[in-house]
């Protein structure tokens, strides 16, 4: 016997377990590498698709509950009379009011799409305080009716600089429209959209009249109101819409977040499909890895039986299977997680202005890790159970 003071245990040392796990993974290199790559790609795809879904909702998430959007009750494409503004401003609960109108011009080529809005600069930038503009740029913008400001991301994308003349070709409002870049605004937060261009509504309105463009002069696309108390949003919304009830141009008022979610809802089927695909990818790799682990465990049946014959417990033997699967899952998962960051960067670079905010969130990274761990665990379940249950005499015969 090893000695009078010796006690016995049911499993090997941590060193032995770690060594067995690493050596076993490296045993069938081709199979392990293919499984590793498969897992990495699956976790990467899962992360990237999850980021796309998050980016889709980013606009709505960044939107405020304390701001209301009032639009035509028929459709957003129908403008509202600018005169509604003064009446809205005086409703109880409204703190500030501004308005905007979608311009929809083309910069050089249709591929260079970016949103442009005609706004009332002082009131608009008072409400949207998350847009940070230097005092000098602000004054320059307010002073010159033909000037415009652009967001930092948009400026970097197209190389816009202060003092540049930018010409847009109007789609809704025909003709060439020239704007002088008076400033570049930054976002207060990372999620703040800096991909838009703002110019004077007054300039657009005057030009519509001067050029005799029959596109509803003295109209705006939406009114935006900020509330002193966000909890009164429903009450104020009803009050605004009540003002114009039974008028030729009735309104629909909702919170900015609900308004943005309305846009997302139009493409909800795509989002659902993307989300479904991201989970299907994980299910596929689960099946692939379960097959790998089954083959692995089957090939080692006699070794597991030998270990049991020597006195190692069934739990120790099953632990080896689970450990190997988890080790492979963690390695593949981490590789996939790390690869998601450059992949997301490349994705955003190739999609240009499509997403206002496209970044891998900590939640997504966490989900990727969980998905990898779940894959390892699910893949190991049946092979580990088999290794646990195998009778020694049957296993020894499996040579």
């Amino acid at each position: 016997m090893p000695g009078p003071s010796c006690t016995w245990r049911k499993g090997g040392s941590k060193m032995l377990v770690a060594r067995l796990l690493f050596l076993n993974i490296w045993r069938n290199r081709t199979r392990s590498i293919l499984t590793f790559v498969g897992l990495m790609v699956a976790v990467l795809a899962f992360g990237l698709l999850s980021t796309v879904v998050q980016a889709w909702y980013a606009g709505a998430e960044a939107a405020s509950q304390a701001r209301l959007i009032t639009r035509s009750s028929i459709s957003l494409i129908f403008p509202l009379p600018a005169s509604y503004g003064e009446r809205i401003r005086h409703i109880d609960g409204v703190d500030q009011m501004t308005y905007s109108r979608w311009f929809g011009g083309i910069y050089k080529d249709t591929r260079n799409f970016f949103p442009q809005f005609a706004v009332d600069p002082p009131t608009y930038f008072a409400i949207y305080s998350e847009y940070r503009l230097s005092e000098e740029a602000r004054q320059a913008f307010y002073r010159d009716r033909r000037s415009a400001v652009v967001g930092r991301r948009l400026a970097e994308e197209h190389g816009f600089q202060v003092g540049d003349m930018v010409t847009l070709k109007g789609q809704i409002f025909p003709g060439q429209w020239e704007f002088l870049i008076a400033g570049i605004y930054d976002g207060a937060e990372e999620k703040t959209d800096t991909g838009k261009m703002y110019f004077h509504w007054a300039y657009l309105n005057e030009e519509l009249k001067r050029r005799r463009i029959s596109r509803d002069p003295d109209s705006v696309g939406v009114f935006i109101t900020s509330l002193a108390d966000a909890s009164r949003a429903a009450e104020v919304s009803l009050a605004i819409d009540g003002l114009f009830l039974n008028s030729p141009k009735e309104t629909l008022t909702e919170t900015e977040q609900a308004f943005q979610l309305g846009f997302v809802a139009m493409t909800e089927a795509i989002v659902v499909a993307i989300r479904a695909v991201s989970f299907v990818v994980i299910l596929i790799i689960m099946a692939v890895m379960a097959n790998t682990m089954s083959m692995t465990a089957r090939e080692r049946t006699s070794e597991y039986a030998t270990l049991k014959a020597l006195g190692f417990s069934p739990r120790f033997v099953a632990g080896l299977v689970v450990g190997e699967s988890m080790l492979l899952a963690v390695l593949g998962g981490l590789a996939g997680l790390l690869a998601t960051y450059p992949a997301a960067w490349a994705f955003q670079a190739s999609t240009g202005n499509l997403f206002r905010h496209f970044a891998v969130s900590p939640d997504t990274s966490l989900m990727q890790l969980w998905a990898a761990l779940a894959t390892g665990l699910v893949a190991a379940f049946f092979p580990a159970l088999r290794a646990y249950r195998i009778r020694i005499v049957d296993g020894l015969r499996a040579i």
Binding site: P2, K10, L16, L23, N24, T306, A309, L310, F312, R391
Partner: protein
Amino acid sequence: MPAFIEIENLSKSYRRGDTTVQVLDGLSLSVEKGDFLALMGPSGSGKSTLLNLIAGIDRPTSGSIRVNGVEIGGLSDAELAQWRAQNVGFIFQFYNLIPVLTAFENVELPLQLTSLRAAERRARVERGLAAVGLADRMTHTPNELSGGQQQRVAIARALITNPALIVADEPTGDLDRVSAEEILAMLEHLNHEEGKTILMVTHDPKAADHARAIVHLEKGRLEDARR
């Protein structure tokens, strides 16, 4: 004084589909401590099953097996695993070494179930491998060793915890004559010089000649025993 191994009215049957296969049928046998018994018989006679039952890796359908005073049929699975680790050294026909581990690590495996410190384990394994003439092959993996060398590693592994009982199932079945003779001489030495009780299943009469006694099984029953 009771025998080291006492088997009484031992039966083992398997279900195969709708039929019951009787492998051992009311077998009784006594083995004294320090004996070297060769179990012989045609295929299907039950000799390997008998060895597995005595070694505690299978359970009898009925009957009693007492090894060194312990009724092993009454032990739970966990108790039986610990009893095996402490009392039985296994030598298999195909060596059953873990292919990714070195000779040193394979021999060390049973010691991993003890509380011995790493330094003491190392000293024991080095002594064990030196005893089977493989001191210079400690870092070799099984596929870097010949069949005879692998079996010697297996013998070192079987002896490393100093068990009272060695069970060997066709230990020379996969070896050439020279290697087989080396292994049998080693078993004989263990029995004669170290007093190990050895049970060996073999088809080979020349291998059986190394044992002190030969037991013949036929259709699950004891046919003949001679010394």
